[in-house]
Amino acid sequence: MHVFSIRRPRSLRKVMLGVAGLTGFLVVWQLVPTLGLINSQYLPYVTDIFARLAEEFRDLAFWRRLGHTMTSWAIGLAVATAAAVVLGTIVGLVPFLRRATHTVVEFLRPIPSVALIPLAVLLFGIQMQAALLIIIYASFWQVFVQVIYGVADVDAVARDTARSFGLTRRERLSYLVLPTALPYLMTGVRLAAAVALILAITAEMVIGNPGLGRMIELSRSAGDSVGLYAFVVVTGLLGLLVNIVFRFIERRSLSWHQSVRGEEVL
């Protein structure tokens, strides 16, 4: 068995496969109305959607709306993540707090943010803050729960090591607890990023402040299915983009972790 060292261009293959997956999906989509499974009036052809997208991409207004949506997304996600990491770490580390807050957390978590929109409007009016409140509320829990579990995952021997060397609380946090919780946190943030995007758009749809969501709602109420799906596709693409960014961060920050380094061997 003569094997020679070949560094395969992994990333290239990865991109190719990913594109293949997306293309396959688009082909299926194109086929559904073509074969008449669903009337093309309700599920338009992919080709039409791309034509519309090309048109939108040349429109400054489109980018401005996208900007609105992404601004509330980014602010909401950042605030939610920061709050969830801080609170999650504190609650996760202090058994008393964890037990005492358990019921309240479980009570608050399943309250749908969509149901809270009127209250948000009541508090902030038809403003971005109202949408932000909703985004933060929904994405906070995603990160919070992951952090609580992650913080509890510290290895017993690793913790004893920290204790025996008398690491200060801060050092223990930054060198032991957070690295352990980081894989959990990354998953949480990726979940929260999608949730925040969904809510940024839903809030715009319902509250009606400017952004992608309002465009979706406008297309919808006009019965313009090509426009509707074009914006939905933009949403999906945004999700994809956000994920690529987070994957990149993850590969950087988790290069030591089994899930990332495991890919390098064999």
Binding site: R13, L17, G18, G21, L22, F25, L43, R99, A100, H102, T103, V104, E106, F107, L108, R109, P110, I111, P112, S113, V114, A115, P118, L119, L122, A138, W141, Q142, V145, Y149, A152, A156, D160, P183, Y184, T187, R190, L191, A194, L197, I198, L199, T202, M205, G213, I216, L228, V232, T235, G236, G239, L240, V242, N243, H257, Q258, S259, G262, E263, V265
Partner: protein, 274 residues
Amino acid sequence: MSAHTDRIARRSRGGGLGRRVAAGFLYSLGLPFLLLVIWGLASSSSTNRFFPGPLTILEAFRETWIGPAFVDDVLPSLYRLALGIAASIVIGIAAGTLIGLFRPLRELLEPLLEFFRAIPPPVLIPVVMLLLGITDTMKVVVIVSGAVWPILLNTIDGVRATDSVMSETADSFQITWWERLRFLVLPAASPRIMTGVRQGLSVALILMVISEMFASSAGLGYRIAYFQRNYLIAEMWSGILLLGLVGVLLAATFGVVERRVLRWYHGIREVNRA
């Protein structure tokens, strides 16, 4: 000066049980009770109609949910919720395991999954409705379309993080594919899977409401939307209260299951807690 610790040495198992249950009770109800009191005090001094006091809401709760509404609105919702959760767990774990184990599959599907994950369910509902009609199936599908992600993502990440020495052990002993799954991959990923399931539970509940807020004429979510539109503020809050209670109930049930499934995991954690 000595550290004789004879007295704290052993928790007596029999008498301690009662006290543990009492402590558990206190822990789980202490903070909620405290918050209720604070809220009651705050609302009695404010006159904002949109934030009624707890007593008003409890009254509304009793009138709204205890009675036929429970059978007509709540039970069907819970039934769909249960179906949705079960389907999400099965799909999430099964697909997550496959995707986590097979790198090409992951590379093939990841962009597609991320694409779908970002699409807001309210936009998805009309399409699903078109395919499945205005049926329970459609609502269950909507629930699954949201609740499956935390489970799926956590499973993928958990499966990918299986310790290298452990999987080499499995390789070297020629463990069959099925045994590998059953005795290595799933247990190793189970802490992550459980995190995902716990997330998924509340997301499922949220989507149950959303699936009923659009295109429906009954159900808990529909009721809440209805109260909202009609400014029946106390009733709306009582619906949210009910959702919260369902959430707590789900979490409690899940807690029991988790303690069973992750007994080894919690065992390790408790070992050196001096």
